[in-house]
């Protein structure tokens, strides 16, 4: 049970219960602001009936020609509100917007170790399009899966034919 509404600057003062979770990164202000200025419709927050932030999704649309696609930059749900289908509704929302923007596909990056997330995306219809080597810096660096789901505009589903070889981060624009 959710109120889905556009993310506002003020929400950054209230998202600590979501962001203190170790798997959610807190970025510098400019990062959020840039998304708010450029793709405000892609940045949505899910609010609980009691007014708390349950989770949010941050995304954008970019690319040229057949590469015009929606991208999930961050998706996070607070521990107290997991297993309620919230991530799925947030993803639905982003896919909807991407459809309306006539995108060819939606993509996202996920740590190869994050089994829970990979499973969830698979259930939502995403496939592993390619592996991006050492995409996440850390000790040691970790690979990412670039996962994709085709939008209706990609009638022939060409955007979701998996690559056979992994790529380096610099090959991903």
């Amino acid at each position: 049970m959710t109120t889905l509404r556009p993310f506002t600057c003020d929400d950054m003062y209230k998202f600590n219960n979501v962001n203190l979770d170790p798997l959610t990164e807190t970025y510098g202000l400019s990062f959020y602001m840039q998304y708010l200025a450029h793709w405000p419709e892609y940045f949505q927050v899910a609010e609980s009936p009691s007014g708390e932030i349950m989770g949010y999704i941050m995304g954008k649309a970019e690319g040229i020609a057949e590469n015009w696609h929606g991208h999930v930059t961050a998706l996070t749900v607070s521990p107290d509100y997991r297993r309620l289908g919230l991530a799925a509704s947030l993803m639905n929302f982003l896919e909807d917007i991407s459809e309306k923007k006539r995108c060819y596909f939606v993509d996202l990056f996920v740590r190869v170790s994050n089994k829970v997330a990979i499973n969830m995306y698979t259930n939502l219809g995403y496939i592993v399009y390619r592996t991006v080597l050492e995409y996440y810096s850390g000790d040691p660096d970790e690979d990412a899966y670039d996962m994709r789901k085709a939008c209706s505009r990609d009638v022939k589903q060409e955007s979701v034919i998996p690559l056979t070889h992994p790529v380096r981060p610099e090959e991903v624009e």
Binding site: M1, T2, T3, L4, R5, T8, C9, D10, M12, Y13, K14, N16, N17, N19, L20, D21, P22, L23, T26, Y27, G28, L29, S30, M33, Q34, L36, A37, H38, P40, E41, E47, S48, P49, S50, G51, E52, M54, P79, D80, Y81, R83, L84, G85, A88, S89, I97, K100, K101
Partner: protein
């Protein structure tokens, strides 16, 4: 030919300049400067190299040289992009953003058809929020490049003049500006030029500010609405229909939306609200009772509680979506019940006993953690008796008593929910201590059982499923500490939290509680360790600054405080600077609706009380730690905008199951509002101290001619402080009640008022004035007072230290001691200034100045007294190091089966104490050296 030459020139210049950019980017400013000089030798007229030189000089710290280069460059009136960009950067780092406008104004005049330059000029006005000039710049840009976005920039600039500029305080002007903006947009529509979603949004925004809701609905329904591809039109209409009180329409639209997606909570609220409004409308016109009992059709308006209930029930029956049982319609019944009862309408007939609603909801969703927050705000439907009844019912329903344990993870989660709801219902209030102890034991054992049964295979990033038991135990231990007025339960709670965190190292709730508890018992270092593991950064430095950074000044951990202040100040300063970039991006991408939000946010950040307090604390810390007077010769201006100060603390981060939480979130509670007022008063007092000391420092920097003015200013400041302090004392502020673990510790105001800031520092400053004015009577009288107060100070400090017998007092005593060290340190500074003024000056003729040496004896006298005070203070600090507050809590820990003697927690607290005492001693010794120079 000439243009070809130009191209060649450009590429040559670019090649020459590249190394400079590279050095600048890598932060190697020295190399960059060398490179600039080299390039300028070869091509002295390469303006961009000059601009980069100005930037480099600034980054090296040679501000005045940088400004000189920039000034001469400005006179050359550059128009090329690269030079202007470098100059822009330089101006921004100089914090002279207004200058950027001037530079581009000149450039645009010289090259009036350059679109890029016009754009930059417009953006330069955006940075300084000069809406009028923005409008002009955008219009002249549009005139020779008639592109829609430029036109909209102009319109938006007009809207901002209406909402934030001239129109802000002048409704007539506002109306005029808005109708101008509307007409400009109308023109676009008439000419059929409106083509983008953002333009339609801007148009709606203008209509909205004029409260033209009918017109907005027409836009949404018309051809322009079709351009809003990312907007759900029917949902977008609801707020305006509400404004127009078209409840029937709200009702129908929300029904349609809900029938498709039953989990949209905002729509449920709109739906129920519309039903209630329709009912009261009907009552008002006394219409005949035309609603048949409970027949709700999707096409017809629901105008009775029965129909609403019928609608809700139908959606309940439609059942699950996505494979998840959806809570929406179930919770909608509570909302209906609440709204009906707010209107004093009977709910029993329709919904039955309210308690049963809770029990039913709990049976359906009790295995989800969110069940508690879902139900929390509806607990106000029950009176105290019914709450107690509900609490018993839920616990019974789970089927767990003192003698058995959960048989499944789901049952455990239901038990946890029942316990949390029960605490919200007040079941832990007014319990005798043995009862509280029994609860703690039970929770702690449940925690361990749950961990062993369901928590073993977790990832290090998961929260343990039984952790909430542990957190509840900590809340109850805190209650126990309050009931017994003893610190032992707090230490036990910290041991429990440390154990819990070994099992689930990511549980941030546990860390937050530990930070709070460590600070409660004076364990700054323990708090620091916990805080560190929370990885708090960026905006959290503001929203969560209150949990740790704000407490550090009271801990005596001076080194740590310095690090935190600097990081915090850096965050605020750089983000305020950067935040103008987001405004310019908004124009670039046409997200006009975000502009207001961005500007508000910017103000919120800049007027954070945390920011202002840390700024002042940092200055006070400089006074405290300075090794010599030279360190104080630069002055920082602090002028907070008192009326605009904001409390940006995220208090909700502490999950609360206290009954008070039912009615209000913490930030709206009276306690927190009072605390904020106390913090403001405290900040004002300290700012006045800073102003006084800065004025005193200005005095010795001044020459004889203007000295009289400085004296007058200082005198005025001292009196202002005195008057203000008296007013605050009159208010008789009470420290915030400490009964709830989720609320902050008391304001620093109280301890400040307990200390002799005004008596000692105020009088020392008056003494300083008396010396300059050669008023020997005043001087002598004040010296006597100061000496008495100084010896009183040592006595008081010693007495309070000796009386400190437990960990709870350790914190308050430490705060008191730190404040007194601060008083002494600042006293040393003032005495040094005094001494400076009476120093025998060798005049040109080699004669000593007889008048000034007169005051010298009194000054030396006061300084001697200060020295004695410091020596005594250091001695008592030395003795205090061995404070003995440790108590035996092994029995308590054994009861909880914690296999831990609490050593590490005790060690943590005591090492904070020892470190703080050491740091304070060394600060005092440094000051002793500072005034020893004078004898």
């Amino acid at each position: 030919m000439s243009s070809k030459n130009h191209v060649q020139d450009n590429s040559v210049a670019e090649r020459r300049l590249r190394p400079i950019y590279e050095w600048l980017d890598s932060g190697n400013n020295k190399k960059s400067l060398q490179e600039c000089e080299k390039v300028l030798k070869k091509t002295p007229n390469l303006l961009c190299a000059k601009a980069l030189k100005a930037l480099t000089l600034l980054r090296i710290g040679k501000e005045s040289e940088s400004i000189m280069v920039l000034d001469s460059l400005t006179e050359e009136k550059p128009t090329d992009e690269a030079t202007l960009q470098a100059m822009t950067l330089c101006c921004r780092e100089l914090q002279q953003v207004e200058r950027i406008c001037k530079i581009y104004e000149t450039a645009v005049k010289l090259d009036p058809t350059n679109e890029e330059l016009h754009t930059h000029l417009f953006m330069s006005y955006v940075r300084i929020c000069d809406f009028k000039s923005q409008q002009k710049a955008a219009m002249s840009l549009y005139k020779f490049k008639p592109k829609n976005p430029y036109y909209c920039w102009a319109v938006m600039s007009i809207v901002l003049q209406a909402s934030r500029g001239e129109g802000k305080s002048d409704p007539k002007k506002k109306q005029l500006l808005l109708s101008l903006a509307e007409r400009m947009m109308d023109k676009l529509i008439v000419e059929n030029k409106m083509d983008a979603e953002q333009q339609v949004q801007l148009y709606i925004m203008i209509l909205e500010q004029q409260e033209k809701y009918k017109e907005i609905l027409q836009v949404l329904d018309g051809s322009l609405g079709a351009k809003l591809s990312c907007t759900d039109i029917s949902q977008a209409k609801i707020p305006y229909l509400k404004m127009l009180q078209k409840w029937n329409d709200v009702n129908l639209i929300s029904k349609k939306i809900l029938a498709k997606s039953v989990d949209k909570w905002n729509i449920w609220k709109d739906y129920i609200n519309s039903v209630i409004e329709i009912i009261s409308d009907n009552k008002n016109i006394n219409s005949t009772d035309n609603h048949d009992l409970g027949d709700s059709d999707i096409e017809t308006v629901d105008d009775s509680p029965e129909k609403a209930h019928e609608f809700i029930c139908r959606l309940v029956e439609n059942g699950a979506d996505n494979g998840f049982l959806l809570r929406g319609p179930y919770l909608a019944r509570f909302e209906l019940c609440l709204k009906l009862s707010e209107k004093n309408m009977d709910t029993f007939e329709l919904l039955g006993d309210v308690t049963e609603l809770f029990v039913e909801y709990f049976r359906k969703f009790g295995h989800k953690p969110c069940c508690v927050t879902d139900l929390r705000s509806y607990l106000k439907l029950l009176n105290e008796e019914k709450k107690a009844d509900l609490s018993t019912r839920l616990l019974k329903d789970v089927g767990i008593s003192a003698t058995n344990i959960p048989k499944s993870e789901q049952q455990m989660q239901r038990h946890i929910c029942a316990l949390q709801l029960s605490r919200l219902c007040g079941s832990h209030r007014r319990l005798p201590d043995f009862h509280l102890k029994a609860l703690v034991t039970a929770f702690s054992l449940h925690y361990q059982h749950g961990y062993q049964s369901y928590g073993n295979l977790l990832l290090s990033t998961d929260l343990g499923p039984s952790d909430p038991y542990g957190l509840l135990a900590v809340h109850v231990l805190y209650d126990l500490a309050r009931v017994q007025n003893s610190p032992e339960p707090i230490v036990v709670a910290l041991v429990l939290l440390e154990c819990l965190l070994k099992n689930s190292p990511s549980n941030f709730h546990a860390k937050l509680l530990a930070v709070r508890l460590y600070h409660t018992v004076g364990g700054g270092i323990g708090a620091q360790n916990m805080y560190n593991s929370l990885e708090i950064k960026h905006l959290q430095l503001d929203s969560l600054g209150y949990i740790h950074c704000s407490r550090l000044p009271t801990t005596g951990l001076i080194g740590l405080a310095t690090t935190f202040y600097d990081a915090t100040l850096k965050f605020f300063a750089s983000n305020y600077k950067d935040s103008s970039d987001h405004l310019t991006s908004s124009y670039k991408f046409g997200s006009f609706a975000k502009l207001d939000e961005f500007m508000d946010f910017r103000e919120k950040l800049n007027n954070s009380i945390h920011y202002a307090t840390v700024t002042v604390d940092r200055i006070m810390l400089t006074f405290m730690c300075c090794l010599n007077m030279e360190a104080l010769m630069y002055s920082v201006e602090v002028v907070p905008k008192w009326d605009l100060l904001r409390n940006n603390n995220d208090l909700n981060v502490y999950v609360s199951w206290d009954p008070e939480r039912i009615n209000t979130p913490p930030e709206e509670s009276l306690e927190i509002k009072n605390l904020f007022q106390q913090d403001i008063d405290f900040l004002k007092l300290r700012t006045q101290v800073v102003w006084c000391i800065t004025a005193a420092l200005d005095l010795i920097k001044s020459t004889d001619g203007v000295r009289e003015n400085h004296i007058q200013r200082l005198g005025k400041l001292i009196e202002d402080w005195k008057i203000f302090e008296d007013i605050i004392r009159e208010k008789k502020h009470e420290p915030i009640n400490q009964d709830r673990i989720t609320l902050p510790l008391p304001s620093r105001l109280h301890s400040f008022l307990d200390c002799a800031y005004q008596d000692i520092l105020g009088n020392l400053l008056r003494f300083l004035i008396a010396i300059v004015q050669e008023d020997s009577v005043q001087r002598k009288e004040l010296a006597i007072k100061i000496k008495t107060d100084l010896s009183k100070l040592t006595e008081n400090v010693e007495c309070i230290m000796k009386g400190t017998s437990d960990f709870l007092q350790l914190r308050t005593t430490m705060e008191y001691v730190v404040n007194n060290v601060e008083i002494i340190c600042i006293s040393c500074i003032i005495c040094n200034i005094c001494h400076d003024l009476v120093k025998p000056i060798q005049s040109k003729k080699g004669k000593k100045n007889p008048v000034e040496s007169k005051g010298r004896d009194t000054v030396i006298d006061v300084i001697d007294c200060l020295k004695t005070t410091i020596i005594k203070f250091v001695t008592s600090l030395h003795l205090w190091q061995a404070v003995s507050t440790r108590t035996d809590i092994e029995v308590e820990l054994e009861c909880l089966n914690l296999n831990n003697n609490g050593n590490s927690v005790f060690q943590n607290i005591l090492s904070s104490h020892v470190q703080a005492v050491n740091e304070l001693q060394s600060v005092l010794n440094t000051k002793l050296k500072l005034i020893n120079v004078n004898s």
